[in-house]
Subunit: 366 residues, 2 copies
DNA sequence: TTGAAAGCGCTAACAC
DNA sequence: GTGTTAGCGCTTTCAA
């Protein structure tokens, strides 16, 4: 691509104007304001342009002048490809793409940082605004975005002052899941969560690591569990929590194995995502002697299509709507920074039931 | 967003230089060529920048100067969201995103045309190159891309002179499917294909419409069927072909219904995509009295994950690899225009079998 | 090391 | 309806 990158444009607006013996304004108008010149002159301009191989006004030069890029930048966790494998991210992308299309804006997927901070792709992105989707709190690219003087919308992230935000109430939703599980009578419960920080962690994690998680969403969901468990009289630090590094079924399965090896008596595993929950189901299936929900209750979070299909007990959240809302906030830039909190819904499926040795009597309810 | 779009930058490279009492070159070097000035001066520049709220060199101005945008444009059929709903497009996108990420380039999804040709988003895209994925031959956006003086790669499209291309041999692959079905003994076969043109068509279509299809891929696949059927002694124009407008399971199901209503004696339905084939399976299931493969053989094309899972007979094509190759062609711009044809593989699954009243005897083989 | 000068290609006021 | 003037903000020779 190198050579073509530096290729001279075959013709410019100025050279076209010279060829035609008119001013540059006239040529510019031929493209941008057809009503500002005679149809006949316009045709002559366009014809000559074609003859000279002039492809129309250079987009970059035009952007510099008009201060509009006609595109929004999207910042995602990790690899770009991550977004295409994660059903949740995919829904978000779909919604955002819809908004962009309606607004006639392009959607620029910004590649992750690689190398020195100064070379960050965020600094090179020619965009009118950014959407930041679920990146760690301490992500340097997020910091770079916030420094750029363009409107920004964050999604599934903590509040940033002066920036629009769209989210769900992760914490409350997780409280709902916990209550559901506890009300069924479960007392020996394990938890599977997604990556909390940059480092690859294996096995059980401590409450302090939970609190210090760099992922806002995971932190909030775990906090919801902690609150509900504590309120029910359970000792949260004694609840086994396993962190998965990759957000894949395979990692969820490995996490489930760790959890079940740690305490074979567990009657329920609560997951902070559906993908992980699918991994738990796979592990239960592999073990053979663990039937769901008879022997093990499994819950997820997100409401991805696959979860819906198999009847996973989970929290449905409107992923597509989230993306669409992010776009809307960006394009209908209102007065001050706003936060839109979307509704979620507990969806009780076929993967949760009372434990076999349920002893619901000594649970007094909420 | 309007206000912020026109917002003045809080500071520019020039104002920073003035404030510091140095030249603009020095400030520019502080960002782009750290080795060209003392570490101490550089620090002073960067500190002052932070204090003044200077976010670093403006990406658009820099692009104008360097003639590099640091991004690749992607042109897709129809709606942007299509990319995230269609499993094939998704795989392609994933592969392309990988290439872009490795090359440190952004990936700009160009919104579809809406309105006058002059307002086409292709003309506004600040990119160093384009990838065009499976758009109709007569797409005005494609024409606009080809006029832009940047390298371009087309994928699943006809050859365009002077432009790199990545594809599979759709026709040969479909000949393979047809042979498979014919060798099983099927003679009453129906065909389900994707959209051939811009207009919404319903029901059976004529051979002439097939030949005049604006979708290269569909044209090639149908041609493969025609060739194989003809070679086997069947009369192609008598083979019912139904066109689906939307590439969805629902449309595939409706198409299957049309086909089965037209000829209840069909023993096989060949589809030009897996998604459509899944629709056929759904319709067979709905009818109850049509079992697959006992009563009906169904084949797809693409090898999407869902097809793999249920054991659909189909043609596997490397979608992700296709995307990655497109990126590679763009970034390692070689000598002349090149075409890369990727290999495909017939995958015989559980949805194809001999017809119940098979009369294989009078078929002499190939 | 640093600075001065030149211009990337275009559009928006404003005058004619 | 058309032209003139003045930059948008930056990088890059080249000279000091």
């Amino acid at each position: 691509m190198a050579r073509s990158l530096n290729a001279r444009r075959p013709a410019t607006l100025a050279s076209l104007a010279a060829e035609l013996g008119v001013s540059r304004t006239t040529v510019s108008n031929a493209y941008n304001r057809p009503d500002q010149l005679s149809a006949e002159l316009r045709k002559r301009v366009l014809d000559t342009a074609r003859r000279l191989g002039y492809p129309g006004p250079d987009p970059v030069a035009r952007s510099l002048r008009t201060r509009q890029a006609g595109a929004v930048g999207l910042l995602l966790t990790d690899a770009l490809a991550f977004a295409f494998e994660d059903p949740g991210a995919l829904g978000f992308l779909e919604g955002l793409a819809q908004s962009c299309q309606e607004a006639g804006r392009g959607l620029l997927l910004v590649p992750p940082a690689a190398g020195p901070a100064e070379a960050n792709a965020v600094h090179r992105a020619a965009v009118d605004g950014f959407v930041v989707y679920s990146v760690p709190d301490d992500d340097p690219q997020l910091a770079a975005v916030l420094r750029r003087p363009v409107p920004t919308v964050v999604c599934d992230q903590p509040v940033v002052s002066g920036v629009d935000r769209v989210a769900i109430d992760d914490r409350a939703a997780m409280v709902g899941v916990a209550k559901h599980v506890l009300e069924l009578g479960h007392r020996r419960v394990g938890v599977l969560c997604m990556r909390l920080g940059r480092e690859r962690t294996v096995g059980l994690i401590s409450p302090s690591r939970q609190r210090e998680a760099h992922s806002y969403v995971q932190r909030a969901r775990l906090a919801g569990l902690r609150d509900a468990f504590t309120e029910a009289g359970l000792v949260w630090p004694s609840v086994p929590v396993v962190e998965c590094f990759d957000h894949t079924l395979a990692d969820g399965q490995a996490g489930a194995a760790a959890l079940l090896d740690h305490d074979p008596q567990l009657t329920a595993i609560i997951c902070t995502s559906d993908v992980l929950a699918l991994g738990v189901l796979a592990e239960a299936d592999r073990r053979g002697d663990v039937r769901v929900p008879e022997d093990l209750t499994v819950t997820g979070f997100d409401g991805i299509p696959e979860a819906e299909r198999i009847g996973l007990t989970t929290v449905r959240q409107p992923m597509v709507e989230k993306g669409r809302t992010a776009g809307r906030l960006l394009f209908d830039h209102g007065d001050g920074p706003r936060t839109v909190v979307l509704a979620t819904e507990l969806s009780v499926g076929r993967t949760s039931a009372a434990p076999r040795t349920a002893n619901v009597e000594w649970f007094s309810g909420w």
